[in-house]
């Protein structure tokens, strides 16, 4: 039997992440060119399994859903998930193992790769052939085309580069239920999780990002950007200068050493456009720059520029969108 493509479903115990639909889209490119099926691996505990399974069977392009449950799998600990994934890879002889290049995927997949003795290709942006991939290096300042010269291929997928598959299919895929027999991992315990629920979307997944620079002037003034972000259902980012000035926490920093984002719409507000910042947002589909200085480098990459005082422009914008 031909080797399937294995996709790791990402979830929070209740809902499978939309990034999984995008990872499936990358997988279906591979599946089509190799003429093989896609297995979606759903790791969970028994309690989470029914609700997750109900979602998974509606995902387009999946040939089989492998639902592997065990009491120790309810939390996505890299140590226990990686061992289970490796066992499934060997059992079903998967040729490609894919996960989203999200915090969860980045945490778990290299562990899987090392246990399989495979060198991983991170942040795949496009698939040129079943062994050839394009990925960003130097924070996206260069794109590297690489050939994975191995028996198996372990890939994390930059999900913003792939359109999601449909989650509305009506014909059910094949279901394979497995109960884990592995001994639970003892070395790591989850103490607590703080997820901002119902709040703003996570920066790297947001459709709209409103970012502020040093010119925003204070933490209080950043609230103005938050209001615009909230109105657009977006997330708030910042340049390093704004973070260094203490206007906002550095988990909001966008740039080479911060987060790399690629939303549909990016607002750079009072950001001059230093190289390091550009590296973190250049992949955005549409960039809007708002800056007092008509010569700010940010205008060189912006699709739409508005020269003006951000303290006048932002409230107007928030009121009118």
């Amino acid at each position: 039997m031909s080797s399937p493509i294995l996709v790791i479903a990402e979830h929070n115990g209740k809902k499978i992440s939309p990034s999984t639909l995008r990872t499936l889209s990358a997988a279906s490119q591979l599946a089509q060119s190799l003429n093989v099926g896609i297995d979606l691996l759903l790791l969970s505990n028994a309690e989470q399994k029914p609700v997750l399974q109900e979602q998974a069977v509606k995902f387009e392009s999946v040939a089989r859903v492998i639902a592997l449950s065990g009491e120790h799998l309810g939390v996505a600990l890299a140590e226990s998930w990686a061992k289970e994934i490796v066992a499934v890879v060997k059992e079903f002889n998967a040729s490609h193992i894919l996960a989203a290049a999200s915090a969860q995927g980045k945490n778990i997949l290299p562990r899987v790769a090392a246990l399989l003795d495979v060198a991983q290709v991170s942040e795949v942006m496009s698939i040129e052939s079943p062994t050839r991939f394009v990925r960003p290096i130097y924070a996206g300042n260069a794109w590297s085309t690489v050939e994975s010269q191995q028996e198996r291929h372990v890939l994390t997928i930059r999900t913003t580069c792939f359109e999601p598959v449909s989650d509305q299919r009506t014909d059910a895929p094949e279901m394979i239920g497995i109960t884990s027999t592995a001994a639970p991992w003892r070395g790591t315990t989850l103490v607590k999780q703080d997820i901002t629920e119902g709040g703003r979307p996570e920066l790297t997944n947001a459709r709209v990002v409103v970012s502020g620079g040093f010119a925003v002037g204070s933490a209080d003034n950043f609230k103005m950007l938050e209001q615009l972000a909230d109105k657009l259902g977006g997330a708030v980012g910042a340049s390093r200068a704004a973070v260094d000035a203490g206007f906002i926490g550095n988990d909001h920093q966008i740039g080479q050493t911060g987060k790399v984002v690629a939303p549909d719409l990016y607002f750079a507000v009072g950001i001059s456009g230093q190289v390091q910042h550009l590296a973190g947002m250049k992949g955005s589909k549409v960039i809007v720059a708002i800056n007092k200085d008509p010569d700010a480098p940010i205008f060189g990459v912006a699709d739409y520029g508005l020269v003006g005082d951000l303290f006048e422009v932002i409230p107007q914008l928030t009121a009118q969108v």
Binding site: A114, Q120, Y138, E147, V191, I195, T257, V275, V286, G305
Partner: protein, 250 residues
């Protein structure tokens, strides 16, 4: 507690890299090189553990060419006690580095390994997780806070999509540093002078008998598609109209 930190020599983060005209690679021959910024955060955290009396020794390790000694000197100027260079001229990929580091760990037997979450050149974000896997150790990636509990466990706050989580790890364990973990100090001149006298042990990678040949071949490197400057609009109203009707993102 003995702490091992890893340092990669990379192009300084202020340098804008250019692709070579033949598209074989980026042109970094004359670029300023520095320790990977995330590794500096890892070193800082280890040094703080030592200053608090929790760490007894901080050992810095780098894998690569002889010249990587310069980033090890920086690590020692920042407070590492001694350094190890695993020397090779072969192009190293994360899995190979993880295998070399495993050999160093077997020799040094640290209780804690702190690494940068990723290097800013290849942006792979793999080596820490791979090393933890090869050692069968607990891992906490993307750490924003590390607390040594003193009972053989470590409490680590780590960044996840949409928030954070706290893990408890049994030592020995491996942690990778995110941006929020700390703000690294600058090395003072006296410390830089002192670091010159600290020892660097060199291990020939070849002597370890590990297959470190690259498994992934670079076919070509391109500049990303150039973003052209768009247009300037005269008012908020005009901007909203463009975003709605032309870009269709509102």
């Amino acid at each position: 507690m003995k702490v091992l930190v890893t340092v990669k020599r990379v192009v300084d983060y202020n340098v804008k890299v250019r692709v070579k005209p033949d598209n074989s690679d980026v042109d970094i021959e004359h670029s300023k090189m520095s320790p990977n910024p995330f590794d500096e955060i890892a070193i800082e955290e280890a040094v703080r553990l030592k200053e608090k009396g929790i760490a007894t020794e901080v050992v810095a390790v780098s894998c690569g060419k002889e010249i990587a000694q310069d980033v090890l000197r920086t690590a020692m100027a920042l407070g590492a006690d001694r350094a190890i260079l695993v020397k090779t001229d072969i192009e190293l990929q994360p899995l190979a580095v993880a295998k070399l580091l495993r050999a160093v760990v077997e020799q040094e037997k640290p209780d804690l390994i702190i690494m940068g979450k990723q290097a800013i050149d290849d942006d792979a974000n793999q080596t820490g997780q791979m090393l933890a896997a090869l050692l069968n150790w607990p891992q906490a990636t993307f750490a924003s806070e590390i607390i040594a509990e003193g009972n053989g466990t470590l409490t680590v706050a780590r960044e996840i999509d949409g928030g954070s989580e706290t893990l408890s790890l049994t030592l020995p364990a491996l942690v990778t540093a995110d941006l929020r973990l700390n703000e690294p100090r600058f090395a003072s001149l006296p410390k830089i002078m002192q670091a010159r006298k600290k020892p660097i042990e060199t291990i020939e990678a070849e002597s370890l008998g590990i297959d470190i040949n690259p498994r992934i071949k670079t076919i070509k490197v391109n500049e990303p598609p150039e973003r052209k400057a768009g247009i300037k609009v005269g008012s908020v109203g005009a901007l909203i109209q463009k975003l709605k009707e032309e870009a269709k993102v509102l």
